[in-house]
């Protein structure tokens, strides 16, 4: 079972573990398609992706993935209802201009949504703000404030509250302590909002 396909990023491995074999998956902001490729190879899914960067889109299509170039908030509008079993938004929520509209669209076009994001209330970030007085800068948030694409500050608690407020339901969640490109990591069960670097949520309709 230790083919190179297993060695995708740790957070992506956890996302993959939630996906039923043979399902239809849409990956929003799919990058170079690592997760899609893994899901197709290991789970036999029918996969599609949306990515705004031409270079990355081209890499995906060259690999044989079905990916289209565009803005995720716009592109989700064109799919028919329930076109997918899972719609994935991996490490992108913090960059979305209208998160509520996007989450609603995700659960219109898909039965379930999977959302992951860096946790802004990790103790390291809290300590940085308290003791240095500067805006957080970490391996999960590697940008100074004036260059960051991350326009949303989200914590695990915030996200749970948000899901409830937009009328959706958290079906499963896992908090992890890992660095952004790590292939191995650990699950945080105790005080996740303080100790986890990332949160991953499986969400569904009420």
């Amino acid at each position: 079972m230790n083919s190179p396909h297993d060695l995708i990023r740790y957070d992506l491995q956890l996302i993959a573990s939630w996906i039923e074999p043979g399902s239809r998956v849409l990956d929003l902001g799919c990058g170079e398609g690592d997760l899609l490729q893994h899901l197709i190879a290991r789970k036999g899914v029918t996969g599609a992706g949306i990515e705004h960067n031409e270079e990355k889109v081209a890499r995906c299509i060259e690999k044989g993935l079905s990916v289209l170039q565009g803005d995720i908030s716009q592109e989700v509008l064109d799919y028919p209802d329930n076109a997918f079993d899972y719609v994935i938004l991996s490490q992108t929520l913090q960059q979305v201009y209208e998160p509520a509209a996007l989450i609603r669209s995700m659960l219109r076009i898909g039965h379930k949504g999977i959302v992951s994001f860096p946790n802004f209330s990790h103790w390291g970030i809290r300590l940085q703000v308290i003791f240095t007085g500067y805006a957080p800068f970490s391996r999960q948030l590697p940008y100074p404030w004036y260059e960051t694409p991350n326009i949303r500050v989200i914590t695990l608690k915030d996200f749970r509250k948000f899901v409830h407020e937009v009328g959706m339901r958290v079906l499963a969640e896992v908090a992890i302590d890992t660095h952004s490109q790590d292939r191995y990591g650990r699950i945080i069960a105790f005080l996740p909002n303080l100790r986890a670097t990332y949160g991953i949520y499986l969400i569904g309709k009420q």
């Binding site: 599609a48 031409e54 889109v57 081209a58 995906c60 299509i61 060259e62 690999k63 044989g64 993935l65 079905s66 990916v67 289209l68 170039q69 565009g70 592109e75 064109d78 799919y79 028919p80 076109a83």
Partner: protein, 390 residues
């Protein structure tokens, strides 16, 4: 369009190719056209590259644009000045790999490159059709190609690919004969012409029709409406370029002189270039064919023809997997028109990939050798080939 094509730097080529012809629809079985008129017999000039597997799988059909022909790659003779119009894409190990796929390219009806068109002999009179040639549509062109594909014994095409008017044929193929198209690559194209595109075509047609030698299309055997056709080509050619590409290629540089001539000779390089392109075009192309093909492109409207006015309804007839490609500087068929194709395909539940390639060369970018387009098409074909086999 062939002005970009040069010999492959590494001399990789399909080599010597031969034009073939297939004739069908001889009266009384003449082909019924969309206009209701009948045409027959119909001859199609075509070429094939690579070899057809016994199971006739992995066959691809390449569709050419306005001024193209069946010679998509290779040479008719070793001394040929230039290879076929898409030699950079079609050949051994290229984007459309002739070692792996059997490639067919056919000249569209209405053209003058070996298929039946206004310059062909009208069996009723024994002379060239001229304007007695019925107006053909993109749908008619595709229906004629279908007869050829049937004749070749191909039940399902692995891929149908083409740019510009060739891309319109790709879209038409995918909804007219959905069960015959496993995948489709429409490049730099649209589901219907904008007013801007129709306007340029109309100006070009007027240039031809204003030439006294045109004589209502009745010039065969006499002097050709060369000036009119040259101007038509110049107009069309401008729409294939972009502000950026013209700035880079010509700027305001003068042609073989240091100062203005203070008369109406070609002072600027861009003037000289367009005149040259116009003159070259007259040598190889028929003015009436230009009228017929541009009219077919203007009439093309996928939603109107196949979806009662709805592009989504039209696209929902298709079964193919799509790769749609546009180019940033294409102002003839801008990216929003490609996105409309993508949107209609998504709404109808089709599998669609889309990439907007950053390119400064305008509409003609799809004909210019480039790694990005090559690897996109190559990767997509590999994928659909695997899925076709499965």
């Amino acid at each position: 369009m062939s002005e970009y094509i040069e010999h492959d730097r590494e001399r990789v080529s399909v080599g010597i190719v031969a034009k073939k012809q297939f004739t069908f629809a001889a009266p009384p079985n003449a082909m019924e056209l969309e206009s209701g008129a009948r045409l027959g017999p119909v001859t199609i000039a075509y070429e094939t590259y690579g070899s057809l597997a016994p199971d006739r799988s992995h066959a691809g059909l390449v569709l050419h644009a306005l001024a193209g022909d069946s010679r998509v790659a290779g040479y008719y003779a070793p001394a040929d000045e230039k290879p076929g119009w898409w030699d950079c894409m079609v050949g051994p190990g290229k984007g459309i790999d002739t070692d792996r796929y059997f490639v067919v390219c056919a000249n569209i009806i209405g053209s003058c490159m070996g298929s039946t068109g206004p310059s062909s002999a009208n069996p009723a009179t024994g002379r060239a059709y001229g304007l007695d040639f019925p107006v053909v549509t993109i749908g008619d062109m595709v229906a004629a190609q279908k007869a050829l594909i049937d004749h070749l014994g191909i039940v399902k095409l692995l891929c149908v690919v083409g740019g510009s008017i060739g891309g319109m044929q790709v879209l038409e193929w995918s909804v007219r004969y959905p069960e015959m198209v496993f995948s489709a690559i429409p490049l730099a194209t649209t589901m219907r012409h904008s007013a801007l595109a129709i306007a340029f075509n109309e100006v070009a047609r007027q240039a031809i029709m204003a030439d006294p030698h045109w004589d209502h299309g009745n010039y065969y055997g006499g002097e050709k409406p060369g000036l009119g056709l040259a101007v038509a080509r110049m107009i069309a050619h401008i729409t294939y370029l972009s502000d950026e590409s013209m700035r880079l290629k010509f700027g305001r540089r003068l042609q073989d002189k240091h100062d203005f001539s203070f008369n109406f000779d070609a002072d600027f390089q861009v003037e000289s270039y367009l005149r040259y392109q116009g003159t070259k075009f007259v040598e190889r192309f028929d003015a009436n064919s230009f009228l017929y093909i541009t009219k077919a492109a203007d009439y093309f409207d996928l939603g109107k023809q196949h979806g009662d006015g709805s592009a989504v309804k039209a696209c929902s007839k298709a079964q193919a997997k799509f790769l749609v490609i546009s180019f940033t500087s294409d102002w003839l068929y801008p990216t929003y028109q490609a996105r409309n194709i993508v949107k209609a395909l998504k709404k109808s539940g089709r599998d669609v990939s889309f990439c907007e390639i950053e390119a400064e060369w305008g509409h003609d970018a799809f004909l210019i050798p480039g790694e990005r387009l090559k690897t996109l098409i190559h990767g997509f074909l590999e994928r659909v080939h695997d899925e076709f086999a499965a």
